[in-house]
């Protein structure tokens, strides 16, 4: 009972509060944009040479306002936004009217999740293993080599790294395709051929993400393990004759994993915005490309849909990690 009252309830409260604040921000900011989506659409229609008399025009504006969820005062819009959001309906996209936002997101989501989830997890696992090893054998030569490479790759802006990979392996040595997610017009069927093609297209974007991710995790893990290694309880265990393997598994790794797991939760949440640059550079079909188009066309609904889902995923993953903490770390008890 104490657990529910002092641990679970405050965290749930914060969880809902953050979602509330985030979604309110998402509602307000696009409305400050100087782009009027309705004027834009009408401009498109009249630029095709269609004549609209004032009465039809007013009717059209009214209908569009209702469809876009822009009807009424700001407060009414806000209320109806929450109502629709709770029903899982983000309205139609302005950019690809009248396709509903939710189905656009559903189309792009598998690409982004497939690319970013796998690369995040792969780089996390590799970075942690190598980081921990490097902290133990810090005098070996390979550790020093990785350290120097990390020092160059880590601070490099991701965009530049991605661009140089693309230039190197698509222009100079044309091994991989220049961009896209799959053969243009190709059918996606289940089979070895399809999987190979998909992997070929995903290789360069994945490579760039894994490179950046690996070195980030590597350095973090190395630093944490080095700190834990020099703490008193490890020295004490050593003197007390606890076996090396037991010290590593039970004492050091367990203590070092906590910040790394927090980091993993945070970076899993960043999948949505993190995909933006990757997908632009490699023209990979996914949420990032969708988002890019949404920003440029002033597509409120699409922007809100993506951001709301991203807020939801991030806060939920942090809540889950918060609740799972005591399983990983012996020091944390439910207070």
């Amino acid at each position: 009972m104490n657990f529910v009252k002092r641990y679970l309830l405050p965290r749930l409260f914060i969880y809902f509060l953050v979602i509330f604040v985030g979604i309110t921000m998402v509602f307000i900011i696009p409305r400050l944009l100087p782009i009027d989506p309705i004027q834009q659409l009408i401009g498109q229609i009249s630029s095709r040479g269609t004549y609209l008399d004032p009465k039809t025009l007013n009717n059209l504006i009214d209908t569009l306002k209702e469809l876009y969820g822009l009807k009424g005062s700001l407060w009414q819009q806000y209320c109806s936004f929450w109502r629709r959001f709770l029903g899982g309906d983000f309205g139609p996209s302005y950019y690809q009217f009248p396709v509903p936002v939710i189905s656009l997101i559903k189309q792009s989501l598998p690409w982004t999740i497939g690319l970013l989830l796998t690369t995040t997890i792969i780089s996390w696992i590799l970075g942690n293993i190598f980081g921990a090893l490097a902290a133990y054998f810090s005098n070996r030569r390979w550790v020093k080599v990785i350290d120097i490479i990390a020092m160059i790759i880590r601070p490099m802006p991701y965009y530049i790294l991605a661009l140089s990979l693309l230039m190197l392996f698509a222009y100079i040595f044309p091994i991989f395709p220049l961009g896209g997610g799959y053969l243009i017009g190709g059918q996606i069927k289940f089979g070895l051929q399809t999987i190979l093609t998909l992997l070929k297209y995903a290789f360069l974007p994945a490579m760039s993400l894994i490179l950046i991710g690996f070195f980030t995790w590597f350095q973090a893990m190395k630093l944490v393990v080095q700190t834990v290694k020099s703490e008193d309880f490890v020295t004490y265990a050593n003197i007390g004759g606890v076996t090396q393997a037991r010290i590593v598994n039970k004492y050091i790794i367990r203590n070092a994993m906590l910040p790394q797991i927090t980091g993993l939760a945070l970076s899993l949440g960043q999948i949505f915005s993190g995909s933006l640059i990757t997908e632009i550079v490699f023209s990979y079909p996914g949420l990032g490309t969708l988002l890019y188009n949404a920003i440029f066309t002033g597509d409120y609904n699409l922007l809100m849909g993506i951001t709301v889902i991203s807020i939801f995923v991030i806060t939920t993953s942090i809540l889950l990690i918060d609740l799972l903490y005591p399983l990983f770390d012996p020091r944390v008890r439910y207070r």
Binding site: V18, M25, P157, I277, L291, I295
Partner: protein
């Protein structure tokens, strides 16, 4: 000065310091530029690097070297501004939250947590789109500064939390020091190194954001910065046409700048951590 001497013993610091010096020289040179950075077609187009155009010229008829001096100046201005603004917010919020504790702490930390959790990148891009045409260096710096403080406020708060439990705090309170004098006289010296270390990290974040915003085309492309130089080069297909000098100049500058800032922060924070410092002196 002694601090600088100690730091210069570190190879990484020496390297970073050299790059920063070069960038400062470039910044100063921009004031003596023979060309106006806002005018096009002042020099022949697409010349490869050759005297008098040391780094060649662009497809807009601008001299790459002199544009670079403006770009470095403007990028540094934006990042310094963002760093200063977010430092002020971080210090104020971190100190109040750490010292006051209780409800104030909870509310302030909820604020900074929300900033950490909400996808800020999307929101910054949104704001930038909104102000695209009216964006100046100052507004860009302000925007980045207003969004970049949350993590550093947490770091400063945790430092204050541990200072608050120390004996000297109680001594100061019992001998009648006011809140302000405790914070400024007693705590500031402990917090200043942290402020410096996070300042460098924040600068590098701001420059990275500036580049991304420029590449997305949502910052004011008329002001020369490292980001807009890259954006122009990509836009004019510099890579495909083989004008390597044009695209590699901002790329190399950016990479050097990021590495320098990173090495500076690593070597300064190692210097500030006494355990690491002893290790280093012992090694030599």
């Amino acid at each position: 000065m002694n601090v600088l001497k100690d730091l210069l013993r570190d190879l990484r610091f020496r390297f970073a310091f050299l790059i920063v010096l070069i960038l400062i020289v470039l910044t100063v040179l921009s004031f003596f530029s023979p060309y106006n950075p806002y005018r096009w077609n002042l020099v022949p187009r697409d010349l490869p690097p050759k005297w008098p155009h040391v780094l060649g010229t662009t497809s807009m008829g601008q001299d790459v070297f002199w544009i670079l001096t403006f770009a470095v100046r403007n990028s540094l201005t934006v990042s310094l501004l963002a760093g200063f603004i977010s430092r002020i917010i971080a210090i104020v919020i971190g100190m109040i939250a750490g010292y006051k504790g209780g409800k104030t702490d909870k509310i302030l930390m909820f604020m900074s947590d929300s900033f950490l959790i909400i996808p800020l990148f999307l929101i910054i891009v949104l704001f930038a789109t909104m102000m695209r045409a009216r964006m100046t260096l100052v507004t860009l710096g302000l925007l980045l500064g207003l969004f970049g403080w949350a993590w550093d406020a947490r770091v400063i708060r945790s430092q204050i939390l541990s200072l608050r439990e120390r004996d000297f705090t109680y001594t100061a309170i019992l001998s009648g020091s006011g809140t302000f004098s405790i914070i400024f006289k007693e705590y500031m010296p402990f917090v200043i190194p942290l402020v410096f270390a996070t300042f460098i990290g924040n600068m590098s974040w701001a420059i990275g954001m500036e580049i991304v915003l420029a590449i997305l085309g949502v910052s004011n492309l008329e002001i020369p910065t490292i980001g807009t130089m890259l954006q122009w080069a990509i836009n004019y297909q510099a890579m495909l046409l083989g004008y390597w000098w044009w695209i590699s100049t901002p790329v190399v500058t950016a990479v050097l700048l990021f590495i320098a800032l990173y090495l500076l922060s690593v070597s300064i924070s190692e210097y500030l951590d006494p355990r690491m410092r002893i290790q280093r002196i012992g090694r030599k």
